[in-house]
């Protein structure tokens, strides 16, 4: 935790000193770079909105919880606790949504229990796959991602199984 806290100022200090040494106009470059952020967000925002509307109603109507109940026996076969099936289900779809579920798991089952630790591993070792996959292609006309999403999901799932297994072993 402390390492990352030091990392960011250290990185900035390094870059600024380096540009001083090279007599580079860092101020101008920074502003130029920052200006790209606006273009980027114009491309990203519509997709964020589209996905987040669906995820929110999915959660609030309880459909995701219902679906989670349905798949929990299957997850149990792989050693993933059934209490965590909604987290596993929503994690690739929504960062904010799954964080709310993680928070709830900590409140209900505690942070240092087996379930709590598995939940930490599941959230910490995975990414919002659908977000990454959609956002990375926003600058292009590419609509067919071929096997990118299925493979990411499968690989993450294997990681989660191994992670839960490790929690039991270690």
């Amino acid at each position: 935790m402390q390492v990352t806290a030091y990392l960011i100022p250290a990185l900035f200090i390094f870059v600024l000193c380096y540009s001083l040494a090279k007599r580079h106009n860092a101020y101008q470059s920074f502003a130029e770079g920052a200006s790209q952020a606006l273009n980027l967000i114009f491309k990203v925002f519509p997709y964020l909105l589209t996905v987040m509307i669906a995820v929110e109603i999915f959660r609030q109507t309880g459909v995701s919880a219902g679906l989670a109940k349905l798949v929990s026996p299957a997850l149990g076969v792989f050693g993933i606790p059934k209490e965590l099936s909604e987290l596993v289900l929503l994690r690739p779809l929504s960062g904010a949504g799954s964080l709310a579920i993680l928070d709830n798991i900590y409140s209900v089952h505690g942070t240092d229990t087996y379930i709590g630790k598995c939940a930490s591993v599941i959230y910490g070792s995975s990414e919002t796959i659908f977000y990454v996959a959609t956002i990375y292609f926003t600058g292009t006309k590419i609509k067919k991602l071929r096997y990118a999403i299925p493979l990411s999901l499968l690989a993450t799932f294997v990681g989660v199984i191994v992670g839960c297994w490790m929690v039991r072993l270690l």
């Binding site: 770079g33 109603i57 930490s120 990454v132 959609t134 600058g139 096997y147 990118a148 990411s152 993450t156």
Partner: protein, 203 residues
């Protein structure tokens, strides 16, 4: 993506009709609102990181990083990628490893854009590799989880780290192997037009 999105919306809306129809508009509005808030946060973070990265680029620091990571990147993405693409990929991976996901995203977008050819509609293998590597999470220190654990009064908020790192390394390695295997089975379109039959166009 399209089918999944429609399925999620249709199932949720149908259930809402049965249980409480008023939830539909409140939930969807909240989702849209959250997206606006998230975008504001993201535009700020992108501005910060793209600013810094632009200085690094002008100073040739990203080129140095790219050179340093060149063996790994070339092994994973093939030797045909351009120098620009290689720089973006290296910065993306470095930022992901350091847990700076929000700095990694704009670099990932740039990397994919720089690989895309005019009129290309299908993702190429290096693009898929980049998405899979990013999407299987490279983050070695999940600060969000640690922060939440601390706020819940965990006695040992770093106890999960070892299994977590093992899990994330496993998923990334499995992802890399799977992409390598799949790219052998489904060859990129430019080489064989015949394979296009296999991946039926999804509407």
């Amino acid at each position: 993506m399209n089918k999944l999105w429609i399925c999620i919306l249709l199932s949720s809306l149908t259930v809402a009709m049965w249980t409480s129809p008023s939830i539909a508009i409140t939930a969807m509005t909240k989702g849209a609102n959250d997206a606006v808030k998230l975008s504001l946060t993201l535009v700020a973070l992108y501005g910060l990181w793209l600013g810094l990265l632009n200085i690094m680029e002008k100073l040739g620091l990203t080129a140095k990083l790219s050179k340093l990571m060149s063996p790994v990147v070339r092994f994973l993405f093939g030797k045909e990628i351009s120098a620009d693409t290689q720089q973006y990929i290296s910065t993306n991976i470095a930022a992901n490893l350091l847990g700076l996901g929000n700095a990694a995203t704009p670099m990932g977008i740039n990397a994919v854009s720089s690989m895309a050819k005019e009129g290309q509609t299908k993702a190429s293998t290096p693009m898929i590799m980049l998405v899979v590597i990013s999407a299987t999470s490279l983050q070695l220190l999940p600060t969000t989880v640690i922060g939440l654990l601390v706020s819940h009064g965990s006695t040992n908020p770093t106890a999960f780290l070892l299994p977590c790192i093992i899990a994330t390394v496993t998923s990334t390695l499995v992802g890399i192997v799977l992409v390598k295997v799949f790219s052998k089975i489904f060859v990129d379109t430019k080489k064989t037009k015949a394979t296009t039959k296999e991946d039926t166009p999804c509407k």
